[in-house]
């Protein structure tokens, strides 16, 4: 396991994340009352400050507009595969062909890999289970495998390729 470098603690490690947290807090409470602003400011400082050693290396987004098309495609895929898996469950466990798939990663960026693994878990029918120590292979479980090559190329074209473009890695 790679040991993470210990950086000296910064007072305000992620200013943009702090602003995001404050806005999120106020949106959740749907209020601009003084007390909520104070509490929100407190949280916006404490959370990034106390979690800074867990953060990945900062990532750079190269095509922010593509995120939107990625999210749309993901939403459509989630809805579609949900229906497919629901039918599969109602039919019962007899005809199932579960499988583990070892998927070689071509993206290297930690954050991009996290997004890809989460995407795989979010689309029903596949759950990512393990990533190899050198971060080159992702192991995931498939509820019902029909065509392994098809699945691999689907994941590559639909998710990995766009992520590559978004993070430029």
């Amino acid at each position: 396991m790679q040991t993470t470098k210990r950086h000296p603690k910064k007072l305000l490690p992620h200013p943009r994340f702090s602003i995001f947290l404050l806005v999120l807090w106020l949106l959740m409470n749907e209020s601009l009352a003084f007390a909520h602003v104070v509490l929100g400011l407190g949280l916006a400082w404490v959370i990034p400050f106390s979690s800074q050693q867990f953060w990945l290396e900062p990532s750079s987004l190269h095509h922010p507009t593509k995120i939107l098309s990625y999210a749309t495609r993901l939403a459509v895929d989630i809805a579609r595969s949900n229906v497919a898996v629901a039918i599969r469950i109602l039919r019962g466990a007899k005809g199932l062909q579960p499988a583990f798939i070892d998927y070689p990663l071509t993206i290297q960026h930690d954050f991009a890999i996290t997004i890809l693994a989460s995407t795989i878990s979010l689309t029903p029918g596949t759950v990512s289970a393990h990533i190899s120590k050198d971060k080159k292979h992702l192991l995931f479980h498939v509820l019902h495998l029909e065509d392994e090559e098809q699945l691999r190329s689907d994941i590559f074209e639909r998710y990995e390729q766009p992520l590559k473009e978004i993070f430029a890695c």
């Binding site: 469950i89 466990a93 579960p98 070892d102 693994a117 989460s118 759950v127 289970a129 509820l143």
Partner: protein, 108 residues
Amino acid sequence: MVILEVSISLFLVIGALIALIGTIGLARLPDIYTRLHGPAKASTLGVGATLFGSFLYFTFFTEGVSMQEALITAFLFVTAPVSANMIAKAALHRGLKCVSNTKNKPWQ
């Protein structure tokens, strides 16, 4: 207004139905790895549809746009894959058995 009410009810019923199917999957599927797929559905499309119904209701029948549903969806989509991943990882570490017809068992 009637159309709105009907579509809200439709979203709620569909959401509940999908959550139910996810739960049936959890109960009926053979091993831990396949069982993980059941709740995945309940927590994405099931809760998603329910929350969308809730969003429509609170936006059109009360004052102001309701943002909380969008936030809940976002939180859910960020956290659900992590917990599924941790359960799968723990199961792999302990070498829990999977159904005999599973292809490419990783520990063989």
